[in-house]
């Protein structure tokens, strides 16, 4: 469970986000709940000075979008207590990004369904179907004869009944059957999950409930001894796991069905235009209520972020390979972070088999991508295949940070487990063939000794990219077995966080700042003199830079008294870096920047109030350009431009916050 620390700016930000997306009324309620904590409806009415009807309406909207926790107090009052759900409120900012992600992986139809779900919050399947049916009916009435220029892969006319509906350009869901199949695909990808009775409980209540149940069922006489305690924890974890898995019930049902296999196959091929299937999928219970599974969306967003990181660090071809690898690896990974209460032992952590094989990746690579790009070429005698193909069975114990690298005792590329003899005596081995992926049994022809002249076959090219990722100092992948690849997300994300921090430090305090921070990060606490010696910088420059960084929260000082009199004038100061502290500060800064963005947007709205009020008029809406005076239209379009830019900026800030908070 990711928790937001709701500070004052964060609270304001979240309320404004709710207002932006759901309107003023729900936002007011939400704000009160954020600041006051758990409240009942009557108290809430008092604080918000709303009528009962307004309040109920607002609560329904909030609940619909999962922005509330609520719980009926069973013992005393039987009153429903409401609480804000800040995590989901924050997720509102991510709507656009989530849609874009769904669009690029599952296609426009899936994106459209997701958008509907995001707009309406959780939805009964039958309602969703009805809404789309209406659209389809309307569209087919209106544009029966227009040619289809949208979708070159659309089925030829007359193959099935929906062909005519499919004609409408811009209509992405072509039939209810199509809708059904899209929903199924999204359920299988876990991006959509079903609602269940416990979804509105806070994490805390959930745990308490599980605990109470376990106590009653298994330990009616109380807990005695350590063994029982451990057992209790395990039972609670089991219970919570069961709660958690309820939302996957639909997926499980789909998986048991043979049709699912077929659909999955389409999905694997990236079949964006999955042909409409059987008219109705009997498995989709129309009464079931579905919603978007943000946890799983985050897994996919994290994949995208990591790919972007590879693009920045290594190159785009390698990044593409990495994207395919991650897609396979995280197919059944339900969430980015494990829950210490639930995922108490390895066996319970749901992650599929935990590695991907070279062949799996090869089978999913787009044929159009040229794998020979993005990598240098040298004659093979300059490479050691033994070093390159080193297998690492377990995750590195040490974090990949600078100290290891600089001290040279465990350089980022050194294998801690089988470092060979560490000598240079591998010449003979290195001259061995640069093995192609063996399972493919293909041969590689080398023009001996001449770089750039040879052409490697595709499996070998693929393997080169994978090995490069494994050799990288960031350790993007781990070569966990012959032709098996995995990713150690926890240390990798930490590396990514530090890289972001470094980039900000470099932009704010220059390269000298970055240098000093990284020295401190790797060497611990240092005084000014030691810094001078390592950084090869003038003392005056160091002092200046360090002060700047102290102010920005990138570096910290510790006072060390010379004697036990602790005379301040006599004590000397040590510099150090607490990376996690800096990251926390960075997160707070990003929240506040985001708040300022949205507040400035409000400022703009106020300024253009007159113009904006015109555009709200029904006779203007939708045809602003035609009916508004040019002067006003220009101001309006400029406002839209600025609004877009501010939202884009907030999205960029969210990239950073999400990385720090959720990945």
């Amino acid at each position: 469970m990711n928790t937001i620390n709701v500070t004052r700016p964060v609270g304001e930000l979240l309320s404004l986000l709710v207002e932006e997306f759901l309107g003023e009324l729900p936002a007011r309620i939400f704000k009160v709940l954020l600041t006051r904590g758990r409240l009942s409806a009557p108290t809430l009415a008092q604080y918000t000075s709303m009528t009962k009807r307004q309040l109920l309406h607002g609560l329904v909207v909030l609940q619909q979008h999962n922005l509330l926790h609520y719980k009926v107090d069973p013992e005393s009052t039987h009153m429903t207590m409401y609480e804000a759900n800040p995590e989901n409120a924050y997720n509102l900012i991510r709507v656009g990004k989530t849609l874009e992600m769904v669009d690029s992986t599952f296609g426009a139809a899936a994106k459209d369904v997701m958008r509907s779900l995001l707009l309406s919050g959780f939805t009964r399947i039958s309602d969703l179907v009805a809404a789309y049916q209406e659209q389809i009916d309307e569209a087919s009435k209106a544009t029966r004869t227009e040619p289809d220029d949208e979708d070159p892969f659309a089925e030829p006319e007359g193959v099935n009944g929906d062909a005519q509906a499919a004609k409408k350009p811009g209509l992405v869901i072509k039939s209810t059957a199509h809708l059904n199949s899209v929903i199924c695909r999204l359920v299988e990808a876990e991006l959509i999950e079903v609602m269940h009775d416990k979804i509105f409980l806070t994490h805390h209540d959930l745990v308490k409930g599980a605990e109470a149940k376990v106590m009653k069922e298994y330990f009616p006489t109380g807990i005695k001894g350590n063994k029982a305690k451990v057992e209790l924890q395990e039972k609670i974890a089991d219970e919570l796991r069961e709660d958690r898995s309820k939302s996957k019930s639909l997926k499980r049902k789909l998986e048991q069905n043979s049709a699912a296999a077929k659909r999955r196959k389409l999905f694997a091929e990236g079949g964006l235009n999955g042909a409409p299937e059987e008219e109705t999928d009997p498995l989709l219970d129309a009464k079931q209520v579905i919603r978007i599974n943000h946890e799983k969306c985050l897994v996919d967003l994290r994949n995208r972020r990591l790919v972007q990181f590879v693009n920045d660090m290594i190159g785009e071809t390698t990044g593409y390979v990495y994207a395919v690898l991650l897609k396979h690896l995280t197919k059944s990974l339900p969430r980015c972070r494990t829950d210490p209460l639930i995922d108490i032992s390895e066996e319970h952590i749901e992650q599929g088999k935990g590695f991907v094989t070279t062949d799996e990746i090869l089978d999913s690579l787009k044929t159009a991508v040229d794998l020979s790009l993005g990598l240098g070429k040298e004659s093979r005698d300059k490479f050691s295949s033994r070093a390159a193909e080193k297998v690492q069975h377990s995750a590195p114990k040490k974090k990949i940070i600078l100290e290891a690298a600089v001290d040279g005792d465990a350089s980022a590329d050194e294998d801690e487990h089988d470092d060979g003899d560490g000598s240079d005596s591998d010449e003979s081995m290195a001259d061995g063939d640069f093995k192609p992926a063996q399972a493919n049994g293909t041969k590689v022809k080398f023009a001996d000794g001449v770089a750039g002249d040879y052409k490697l076959d595709r499996p070998t090219q693929l393997k080169q990219h994978l090995l490069l990722l494994a050799e990288s100092s960031q350790r993007f992948v781990r070569h966990c077995g012959p032709n098996e690849w995995t990713v150690d997300f926890v240390p990798l994300i930490q590396t990514l966080k530090e890289a972001e921090l470094d980039s900000i430090i470099e932009q704010q305090c220059g390269r000298p700042g970055l240098r000093l921070v990284r020295i401190l990060r790797s060497k611990g606490k240092l005084d000014e003199k030691a810094l001078t010696n390592t950084a090869l910088m003038r003392k005056s420059e160091i002092q200046q830079t360090m002060l700047q960084m102290l102010k920005a929260g990138f570096a910290h000082t510790q006072e060390v008294p010379k004697d036990n009199k602790a005379d301040v004038s006599k004590s000397f100061f040590l510099w150090y870096c607490d990376t996690n502290r800096s990251l926390d500060r960075l997160q707070a800064r990003s929240y506040k920047s985001m708040l300022n963005c949205i507040q400035f947007l409000e400022v703009l709205r106020q300024k253009e109030k007159d113009v904006l009020s015109v555009t709200k008029r029904l006779d203007v809406k939708g045809r602003e350009k035609d009916v508004m005076r040019k002067e006003y239209y220009d101001r309006y379009s400029q406002f839209l431009e600025h609004e877009k830019r501010l939202f884009a900026q907030m999205g960029r800030l969210d990239d950073l916050i999400t990385l720090l908070k959720d990945f």
Binding site: E316, Q507, T534, S590
Partner: protein, 425 residues
């Protein structure tokens, strides 16, 4: 006959002194048996030896020192000895002795005082005397203790510890020298640890294209190692790489793939390709297992050959120090292949293909290395805002009064006064 004896001792004095001088430097310690083994004193006559040594010590030509539990001696030049015999009083001699013993490291006047347990004024007088006589001098440019008044024997070269080693000139860190070398080292590592490819972007086609042809992969350090300057290097761009420029990599391969662009549309625009040339040079990372990433030893050899260090000699440890700084900068990273520790450039594709010195000719304040990764916080006005910490809605500085946001959006001025009547025409 006493005179006879004296003469005998005088003779042996000279003989012993010469022999000792022949057998080692001023710092060598001679034990009693060492002295006897010189075969100057006949019949290993210990008594005679003691007499001779005593006489030499009195003349300040031998200095007695305790070596563990045994006594030992070292010799002193006649010139020095003359100084010792010329002092007006014992204090001066003692002070001089202490300074002498401190050697090339020099000594702090307070330390002298404490060591000799002497009154400050006495020390002061002695120092004054010694200074006017030109026997000692104050230590200049002391890097180790810049704020202490230190003295050193006249005409002695201060030790490395005191001067700060090769990076210091006249007690100041020679940043120009350090930076010059750093760039040299960086360019060397860059060209030796990445593959220079001539990239021909092709339009269309999801696969994109462009074969990487082989280009000379040699160093491009200009003026330093002329033999390694690759032909054709100078055809690449000489444009300024500003901090806002994202990268020189915009390979089009992914146009049609599942790969998303950067998630937000607001990212800084990629640099425009002003040139009409299709071929673009770019550094590519080398495949895993490359065995020839440059090591510190190789880098040190390069610097040596380049002859850019004038009369300073740099040890491998010095070069290591330079390379470490580059690592801390995030410009290069260590990589161990089969136990051989080499260095390679980070983010190869983002590196400029032209050498730093060459680029600097056209643009004096260009920066070497890849620009930092763009980041949402630093792009927004608030990320760089000087009043960020006090900015709050309702406060003296707030988003409503913000001057940076309008500038960022390109609305410098407030729009002209709005007319009262707003209508849809």
């Amino acid at each position: 006959m006493p005179g006879d004896n004296d003469i005998k001792i005088d003779v042996f004095k000279d003989l012993l002194y010469d022999a000792v001088r022949e057998h080692g430097s001023e710092s060598r310690l001679f034990t009693q048996s060492d002295l006897l083994d010189l075969n100057v004193i006949p019949d290993r006559d210990v008594l005679l030896l003691v007499k001779v040594v005593q006489a030499l010590t009195a003349d300040k030509l031998l200095v007695a020192t305790r070596e563990g539990s045994t006594l030992a001696w070292r010799w002193r030049s006649r010139e020095e000895a003359k100084k010792y015999t010329s002092f007006p009083n014992d204090e001066t001699m003692l002070v001089y002795t202490v300074i002498d013993e401190a050697g090339r490291d020099g000594i702090w006047n307070r330390t002298i005082k404490n060591k000799l347990k002497m009154h400050e004024s006495l020390v002061k007088n002695a120092i004054k005397y010694l200074e006017t006589k030109g026997f000692i001098e104050p230590m200049k440019n002391n890097v180790e203790h810049p704020n202490k008044k230190m003295y050193i024997k006249a005409n002695l070269k201060p030790s490395e510890r005191a001067t700060g080693g090769p990076w210091f000139t006249d007690g100041e860190l020679d940043t120009a020298f350090v930076e010059e070398l750093q760039e040299l080292v960086f360019d060397y590592i860059k060209t030796k640890s990445a593959y220079l490819s001539t990239h021909i972007p092709m339009s269309g086609g999801g696969g994109g294209g462009g074969g990487a042809t082989r280009a000379p992969k040699k160093g491009v350090i200009r003026g330093a190692a002329p033999s390694t300057t690759a032909p054709g290097e100078d055809t690449t761009r000489g444009t300024k790489r500003s901090a806002t420029e994202i990268s020189n990599d915009s390979s089009p391969i992914m146009q049609n793939s599942a790969l998303p662009p950067r998630s937000a549309p607001s990212a800084t625009p990629a640099p425009a390709h002003t040139s009409s040339r299709n071929a673009r040079k770019v550094f590519l990372p080398l495949p895993a297992g490359y065995k020839q990433y440059p090591t510190v030893t190789e880098i040190a050899q390069l610097i040596d050959r380049a002859g850019v260090t004038n009369n300073t000699t740099l040890s491998e440890a010095d070069i290591q120090q330079l390379v470490d700084v580059l690592v801390f900068d995030g410009r290069v990273e260590p990589i161990k292949v089969n136990g051989r520790k080499g260095y390679r450039v980070t983010r190869a594709v983002k590196q400029d293909t032209q050498s730093f010195s060459k680029r600097r000719e056209t643009n004096p304040d260009c920066v070497s290395g890849a620009p930092p990764i763009p980041n949402g916080l630093m792009e927004a006005p608030c990320g760089r805002c000087p009043v960020f910490d006090i900015c709050v809605e309702g406060g003296p500085v707030s988003p409503s009064t913000c001057i940076y946001f309008p500038r960022w959006l390109g609305i410098e001025q407030a729009p002209p006064a709005v007319s009262k009547e707003v209508t849809a025409s």
